[in-house]
Structures are given as C-alpha cells and as structure tokens.
Symmetry: C2
Subunit: 369 residues, 2 copies
C-alpha cells in the first residue's frame, strides 16, 4: 500500500495543556452563563418565587421525593419549565454527595488505550451502548482509562464505575471498595464471588463452538488463547480442556501475546501446522487472532475450511469482511453494555444484588467453518 499525503500545511498547534494530577481546573472571574446571557442562570429560588412556594417545595416537586400535592407539583414544574430551569449538577452533588455520573473504564492502561479502542469493535460497541443507556437513566458517563492510583479514581468523582475485564485481585476493584465507589464489572473478576457483574457464559459458548466444529468434521481443535488472566479466557480454556478430556483428545493450547494478536496467532498457527499434531480446526479467542490463523493457513497452502476450520472468539467487521468470512462468537457487547449500566444503577439505588446477569452468545457461522 502506498500512502500519499494529499495536503500538508503548516498548521496551528495549540500548546499542550497537560496538567499534573491533583492540580485543578481554575476559573476566571464569572462563568460563561453570566457573561453571555443577561442575568443569572435560574435557580430553584427563582422557580419558587414564580410558583409562590418555598425552595424546599420546588426541590421536592422536581425530584419526585416527598409528599407534594399533585396540583402544587404541576404548578412548580410549569414554573420551572417557563423559567428554563435545569438542576445544577454541581450543587446537587455537593449537597447530596452523589454526582450522578459514572465512568466506563476499559483496558488496558493509559498508554495503549486509544489503540485498543481503535481496533476493537467490541469495545466500541460496548462504549456506545453504555453511553446511551447511561443517558437514558438520566445520568452522565465519563470515558476513562483504568485509574492507576487512588487519587486518579477519586479525581473522577463518580458515583459508580463500570470496569471491563477485571483481572485476579484487580487493583481497581480494591480501590473502588476502599473509596466507596459502586462497581459493576463486565465479565467476572477471577477468584471473586461478587454478584455485581454482567457477562457471557464463556464455558457454554466454547462448548457450542467446539460442538459446531466437531459436527463440521473437525477431530483435532487447537485453542489460541491470550496471556492475560481474564475470566473469559480462563473459562474458555477450562471448557476446552473438559471437552477434550471427554473425547480423549489431547488438548492443543497456545497463549498469545495480546499486543499483536494477529501476528502472534499467525506465528503460533504456523508452528502448530509444522509440528506433528497438525490440528484440523482452530478456535482463536483474542480479538483479531483469527485473521492471523487465516494468513498462516494461506501461507501453508491449506484450504479453509477444507483443511482447517477457523472460528474467532470475538466477532468484528474484519471477520465478516475476511475471505473466507470467519465464523465468530458474537458476544453482543451492546447488550452487555446496556445490562451493565442497568445493574450499576440498581446498585447505586441501594438495591440488593440479583446475581450475575448473563447475556446469551450467538455463534455466527460463516464460510471458515
């Protein structure tokens, strides 16, 4: 591929405005509201005056709390609408101690965060779904990398956190507990018994894939997993091991470096094919890893799915676009995100846990198997 720059200018680069953690956003005199609109932004005092009630009544009427006469409530709400009043979140938060804001923390750390986001349609869909669900719940969602320290978490100033792919003894989980931030994880924390998580049943999904491959004639399925210690990889691995044991088939597992999964998968697959125990199918779990398997098969002159059946553990547009199109597990990230937000809202509301919320997995059967 050739890259050709269409237009290169001397452009205006603003100065970098990096701020050290712990420092603060300082204001100039007056806010923009005051500067632009004549007069102040309306407060409940203005609404109270207009409706002929007290601020207490306005507060209760607008929040739905308290026992307020329906007629009074209607009058107050109309006055608020007329005045263009909107609650000032900062004031609510300061008084109530709850900010009405949650954060979505996706892996990995800050450094390669944007890269991950950029390459994983799973993350992208999950993010969009969480944001949409949060707004529907009347809250606000921040998008943030995993906080590395207590101060970073505190600096978020959120009521709750959605944490994706917690690891065993996850520091973020510990920090949330210490800081009193409500937490819901997407996928369970390995080794934890917390009921506050949503996820897929990766054991069932893996069995489904393996049964599908067997049905399509595969007799020796290799598993490409990741080196990370995530519950979904553990679960898939465990289900695979058990499935192999049930059939007396020797397990064939390779753990891939998750930084460049496609390349790592290509390398691992080539090695596997060159060795004695040549598999006739591969389940490639990490995002994009299946593309590497395809490349290795092509390099080895193998037909997919004739000589080698391939299934991806995470679906994405690349799987549908690949030739042959790759059979993949649709983990339904949009559904996961919506459910995760709903659960976090329940937790924030003080409701008791109802157990993990499992989202069904779809196997999208395409040409590669």
């Amino acid at each position: 591929m050739v890259t050709q720059r269409c237009c290169t200018f001397a452009v205006n680069h603003g100065p970098s405005h990096a701020v050290t953690p712990g420092s603060r956003i300082v204001g100039t005199r007056g806010n923009l509201w005051t500067m632009v609109t004549r007069g102040r932004r309306p407060t409940i005092a203005d609404v109270a005056r207009a409706a002929g009630v007290s601020v207490t009544t306005v507060s209760a009427a607008m929040s739905g709390k308290g026992r307020i006469d329906p007629a009074t409530r209607a009058r107050v709400q109309e006055a608020a609408r007329a005045a263009g009043w909107t609650p000032r979140r900062a004031a609510q938060a300061l008084r109530s101690g709850r900010t009405g804001t949650i954060a979505l923390c996706i892996p990995p750390d800050r450094s390669s965060w944007a890269d991950w986001m950029r390459h994983s349609s799973y993350l992208q869909q999950l993010t969009a779904a969480c944001a949409a669900a949060t707004i529907d719940a009347g809250r606000l969602m921040l998008l943030a990398p995993r906080p590395a320290e207590r101060v970073e978490l505190a600096g978020l100033d959120v009521d709750g956190l959605l944490l994706l792919d917690p690891v065993r003894a996850d520091p973020v989980v510990r920090m949330c507990a210490a800081a009193g931030v409500a937490l819901v994880t997407v996928d369970r924390e390995p080794g934890s018994t917390s009921p506050w998580w949503v996820g897929n049943d990766h054991r069932a999904a893996t069995r489904g894939v393996l049964d599908h491959l067997h049905e399509r004639g595969a007799r020796s399925v290799a598993l490409l997993t990741g080196a990370e210690r995530w519950a979904w990889l553990e679960d898939a691995h465990a289900a695979y091991a058990q499935w192999c044991a049930e059939r007396g088939a020797p397990p064939l597992v390779r753990a891939l470096d998750m930084d460049r999964p496609a390349d790592a998968a290509a390398h691992a697959t080539s090695a596997l094919l060159a060795a004695g125990e040549r598999p006739d199918a591969v389940l490639a779990l990490p995002t994009h890893a299946a593309l590497g398997v395809l490349a290795a098969a092509r390099a080895a002159g193998l037909d997919v799915p004739g000589d080698l059946r391939v299934v991806a553990g995470v679906d994405g547009p690349e799987m549908a676009a690949a030739r042959p199109a790759v059979t993949a597990l649709d983990l339904r990230p949009a559904e996961l995100g919506a459910r995760a937000v709903a659960m976090l809202v329940r937790r924030l509301g003080g409701e008791p846990p109802t157990g993990p919320d499992l989202v069904a997995t779809d196997l999208l059967v395409r040409a590669s198997s």
Copy 2:
C-alpha cells in the same frame, strides 16, 4: 450466514431505570465514602489543619494561583498527599461556575446513535482520541448524543462542547452560544465564519484523489456523496465540480441516503453503469459507500480496478479488508480529536482564536485504484 445461539438463559433483567428529563438523581442518606471508610473524605480544611495554614492558602497552593511562598506550597502539597486529599469537583464547580468537564457530541440524534458509533471506525477513533486528550488536560469528557433542546444541553452541565459535523445554522451551535457553553466543532459549520473548528481540507483532499485517479487512467470519475448538508460533502462536491470543469468533463454526481450508504451506493452505481455515461472511476464519500460500489461492480462483471477504479472518502478496517482492498482517504480522526480538545481547552482558557486547525489527509493507495 447462520446464527446459532450458544446459550440462552432466563436472565436477570433489572427494571428499566429511565428517568424523565429534568428529574434528578436523588441520594439516600450519606454517601458511600462515609459509609465505607471510617470518617469523612478529607477536605481542604483537614489539609489546612495538618499543614498549619488556612484553607485559603491550601486552595491557592494546590491550584497554583496566588502568590504563595514556595516552602509553604511544598508543605501544603505534602500534607494534601499524606491526607489523600483530592479536590471535590462538585464543590469547585459550584463555587467557580466551571465544571472542568466537556462533552463530545457525535451525530446523529439519539435514535440511531449507537448504531453509528458501532459502524464508523472514524467516530470510534475520534472518540477515543478525544477522551485520551481530555484526560491528559486534567478534565473529564462525557460522551453524549446531540442535545435536542436547551434543557438537554444545560443538563450536561459542561464547560465546553465538541460538536462533530455541524450542519448549516446548527441548532446546537445556537444553543451553545445562548447558554454560554464554549464550542469547538470538528469540521466547520457551513455558512459560519467561526474560527473555532478543526478539520480536514476536503477540497485539497478531493483534488488529490481525482488527480490520482486521472493518473491511473480514469477519464470519467463519478462522485457519490451524501444527502446531508455537511461542510465536508459540500467542499468535496465543490472541488469535484471545479476539477471536472477544468477538464471539460461532465460531472456525474449522486447523493446517497446516509442511513444505508453501502446499499444506496450499490444501487446508484448499478444505475450509473447501466446508463450511457458509464464512469471508469468512482469516488464514494460516505462511510462504507465504497463497499457498495465494489458489490455493484462485481454484479456487473466489471474488474476493479481494470474497468472501474474505486476510492473511499473515509478509511476504515473494512476498506483494508475488502477484496480488492479499497484506496481510501485517511482523515486521521485521532489527530483531529487531539487537536479539537486542545483548541477547546484554549478557548476555555480565554485565549483568542488562532484560526481553524487543519489536519493533513492521507490517501492510502490500495488495490482498487
């Protein structure tokens, strides 16, 4: 493609927690900090006591404002660190009138928002880059759909807004001006002369594409654009028209429905190929439209690029994965996002405008041309 559900459970669906706009997040007694950790979250009063100074001094020392003795400042900062103090954003915001938070508003409206996000790697990269840059600037970023009304905008309670793809006389632009919310747009607002935007030079990029196609032997280039009234489509269209006029070639333009651009593009291309003025190249601007062109060419039995050269106006993984791989414009959304945040931070800081910030475009030449 066959879809096979791997596991279906009776799962726990929490109640839907939709909240009507204008209602508020109400708290129960006490916040989690208080409930979980023994004692209160430290305040500047605690830090002041520990450091033996007043709260005023702590405030000045931590914010970097005011004239504070360096020794005093160091002592205060150490005390703050030791106490684990973090500024409470709500209190800062209430007092200063600035929340330290910005919002990224991406098109279109609420209804199909998650869908767009899901399918456009451009949006995804832009989003990730904005979030990362915002955090680096010590601020927080909300992800939100375009506010439809004033109350929705006010409900965001943000200092500034990043607005993607403003339309002519954009209501959000008007609302921001009225509400005193600082605004930076990604791409200019058609008809506006505001200098507060970042974007690509779509005229230059379009000329670059057309020159490239001409060089590759194309003599009749069709343009597939969108029905939306976005500046980038206007600019590309204008550059195309001028380029055609310079060569005395008749322009061949079709506007596509942006909801299903690939299908619309396939349809439009088929019609174009069936008509007399059969083009030998197509520049398909809307996201994914080029894939439809490819499908139409295949259906017509045409070789790409032999009979028909194809270029996509927006790059994405689908373009690289397509067969043949599609030559595409890389609008460099990650760069756009970083620059947009930097510009918004400058505007929030009261700095004067330095003019639009243009990001260079790369033409990624692949097999389709």
